[in-house]
């Protein structure tokens, strides 16, 4: 035993001359394929974009100009806008390793508040809209508080809120619809997101632009601000984030509040899209938004993925749905084929990721 430590004399004296060059290796691989692989490796959110382009190409080839018409392509954007906006909210929450099952309910309640405040109480539309947005944010705050401070599982908190908010929505609205014609006549501001804009031939709605703008903005915030990094850190490993100085509770609460606010905007956009204020809308918003998020490559375990992917995920589903309908599949077959295509889309996605190391 004595040998061990004894032989250790001064073995560190050589360190003074040790190399101080940062390690570098030449990469002898060249060519387009390799460059492309490398680009994918650096920007994994491009992968769902490729899948999206592939599916557009597929349906374009099958359907020709019927699908490649400006009408069909902008229609997809319009059909996707509500899910896209809600999925942006859902992405934020899922990035924190949470889940928000109350998005659809918050969206509908907010739109009902906007409508009922205007029509039942005669409050001017801008104020009613403000009230609707505040309502969504408040619901989000309750979610965030219960998750962050009470440490309850997000699934249960938002499941409970879903039931609570939805029931409140029905009880408050008395299930009454406010008709599009009345809104157009008396409070056209509620229809703002439905307004059409002609950009270089393509007809887009304010809602579509809002969705795209929102995703770009959130993408910037998530990548380039401290708050954005903290969202990822909380989702990645909450304890580690806390230990390294992130105010995790505050981040969580702000994320759920922002999610609520975005859902309220989605409620406003919903009025623009369906014309009327209807308390029975948005029943599939939960599952559709989570689907978009997962197809877009964000991990349900939090901390990994990009919100741009979510937008592509939502569009992929939109392309499949419209494409299959145009191909003439009936409702039940469409439903079945979409199931297959979603699995196929993610399989292609995984495969691209695998080869892009």
């Amino acid at each position: 035993m004595a040998k061990t430590a004894a032989s250790g004399d001064d073995y560190e004296s050589a360190l003074a001359q040790s190399s101080t060059k940062v390690a570098e290796f030449e990469d002898t691989r060249t060519g387009f394929v390799h460059k492309f692989q490398h680009a994918l490796h650096l920007n994994p959110s491009l992968v769902p974009l490729i899948v999206l382009l592939l599916s557009i190409a597929l349906f374009g080839a099958l359907l020709g100009s019927k699908f490649f018409s400006p009408f069909a392509l902008t229609l997809i954007l319009q059909q996707v806008q509500i899910v896209g906006i809600v999925a942006a909210a859902q992405s934020l929450v899922i990035l924190t390793a949470g889940i928000d099952l109350s998005v659809g309910a918050i969206m509908v309640l907010s739109s009902v508040v906007m409508g009922q405040f205007t029509f039942r109480y005669g409050i001017p539309a801008p104020i009613s809209i403000g009230a609707g947005l505040a309502c969504g944010t408040a619901c989000g705050f309750v979610n965030g508080f219960l998750v962050a401070r009470m440490k309850l599982p997000p699934f249960i908190v938002t499941l409970g809120m879903w039931q609570i908010v939805l029931a409140s929505n029905f009880l408050y609205s008395g299930n009454a619809t406010i008709r599009a014609q009345d809104i157009a006549a008396e409070a056209p501001l509620l229809h703002l997101f439905g307004a059409k804009i002609n950009i270089g031939g393509a007809v887009l709605t304010v809602g579509v632009l809002f969705m795209v703008g929102l995703v770009l903005l959130l993408s910037y915030v998530l990548r380039h601000t401290a708050w954005g990094r903290h969202v990822y850190a909380v989702g990645d490993d909450k304890d580690a984030a806390e230990l390294s100085g992130v105010q995790t509770d505050r981040v969580l609460i702000s994320v759920y509040m922002l999610s609520g606010l975005i859902c309220a905007f989605a409620g406003w956009a919903l009025i623009g899209r369906i014309g009327s204020v209807s308390p029975t809308s948005g029943q599939l918003a939960n599952i559709e938004s989570i689907t978009a998020v997962v197809i877009g490559g964000i991990s349900l375990f939090g901390g990994r993925g990009s919100i741009l992917g979510t937008l592509f995920g939502a569009l992929i589903v939109g392309v499949f749905t419209l494409g299959l309908r145009l191909l003439g599949a009936d409702a039940q077959w469409t439903y079945l084929l979409i199931g297959i295509l979603i699995i196929a889309a993610v399989a292609v996605d995984q495969w691209i990721r695998k080869v892009s190391v």
Partner: protein
């Protein structure tokens, strides 16, 4: 005395009104009313649980709008065995006599009326019509099938299997899509079918919210004046939409009447043990259906929008 009202959902204004009608009648007759509903249309398991709860609760009678007309029969039998009067509202059970009585709209007839009206409205052009069918759900619940097939029958299209939507081969049909019976689904379904054929000119819708959504889609391509939309329900917003030219005609049904009759029957049963009798010549008590439109056509009986407004609900 206590009674239960079990509806398919309680989010559809149709059932909300039915509940109000029942509550009003119950208050008048001194009956305690408990109400239950499925979570979504087609959710018959929650309805079965509700029946069990009513049995546990010692109710005298149950008013039920069945989500699955034959599945629920066993639960209904259990209630009847416990001495409870069970009345089907809106939708008959399969078999009809599984309930003590049925107060309902004839949904096939409701569809047939709007089908006939649309065909008559188009006249000779009916032969070249391009028809979109906006149904309820992929699971094809019975109301959805009855109205859709009734419409096609009225329009003069061969039904193939009358129990299945979408198996027709008539080239005038552009396609079927599902709406979940709300505006959002109505708009999306309409858009999908318009992308398939933008020249659609007749639209059948399962109900008026779906019709309102479909109208938005049609309006957004500027064809709102070329397309005929027909629907079923006769709720106040729907009838108002006829006045505004959104919908051409709708088949109005009378949920308040169904509910009130139901409660009265339970009160009577509790008092005398007497059960209600069906309408002459039918196996259920027909609470009636009327076609509401301001553009009446020959050969189809209809009422005006202002009459419809007086009778509307929700």
């Amino acid at each position: 005395e206590s009674a239960c009202l079990i509806t398919k959902t309680d989010t559809n204004p149709f059932f909300v009104k039915m509940k109000e009608g029942a509550a009003a009648a119950a208050a008048e007759l001194g009956i305690e009313l408990k109400t239950f509903a499925g979570k979504i249309d087609g959710d018959h398991e929650t309805q079965a649980q509700a029946i069990e709860t009513c049995i546990a609760d010692g109710a005298k009678g149950i008013l039920l709008t069945p989500s699955d007309t034959s599945s629920i029969v066993s639960s209904v039998q259990q209630a009847r065995d416990a001495g409870i009067l069970v009345i089907a509202l809106d939708t008959p059970l399969d078999p009809v006599d599984a309930a003590d009585a049925t107060f309902a709209t004839d949904n096939f007839l409701a569809g047939e009326l709007i089908g006939k009206w649309a065909a008559a409205k188009l006249g000779d052009e009916a032969a070249n019509a391009k028809i979109a069918l906006l149904d309820l759900a992929v699971s094809q619940p019975t109301v959805g099938v009855l109205r859709d097939q009734g419409f096609l029958q009225g329009f003069g299209i061969d039904l193939a299997d009358p129990n299945v939507n979408g198996d027709e081969t008539d080239p005038r049909i552009v396609g079927n899509d599902v709406t979940a019976g709300n505006e959002e689904g109505g708009r999306r379904a309409m858009e999908n079918l318009l992308a398939k054929d933008p020249m659609i000119n007749v639209v059948y819708t399962i109900n008026e919210p779906a019709a309102a959504g479909a109208y938005e889609a049609i309006k957004s391509i500027g064809r709102e004046n070329d397309v005929l939309i027909v629907s079923v329900d006769g709720g106040c917003p729907g009838v108002q939409n006829i006045a505004d030219g959104v919908i051409g005609a709708t088949s109005q049904q009378y949920p308040l009447r169904m509910a009130a009759l139901g409660i009265e029957a339970i009160a009577k049963f509790a008092e005398t043990g007497e059960k209600p009798q069906p309408t002459e010549g039918k196996d259920f008590v027909d609470t009636g259906v009327s076609l509401v439109t301001d553009e009446s056509v020959d050969g189809v009986e209809s009422i005006s929008v202002s009459e419809g407004m007086d009778l509307c609900w929700g």
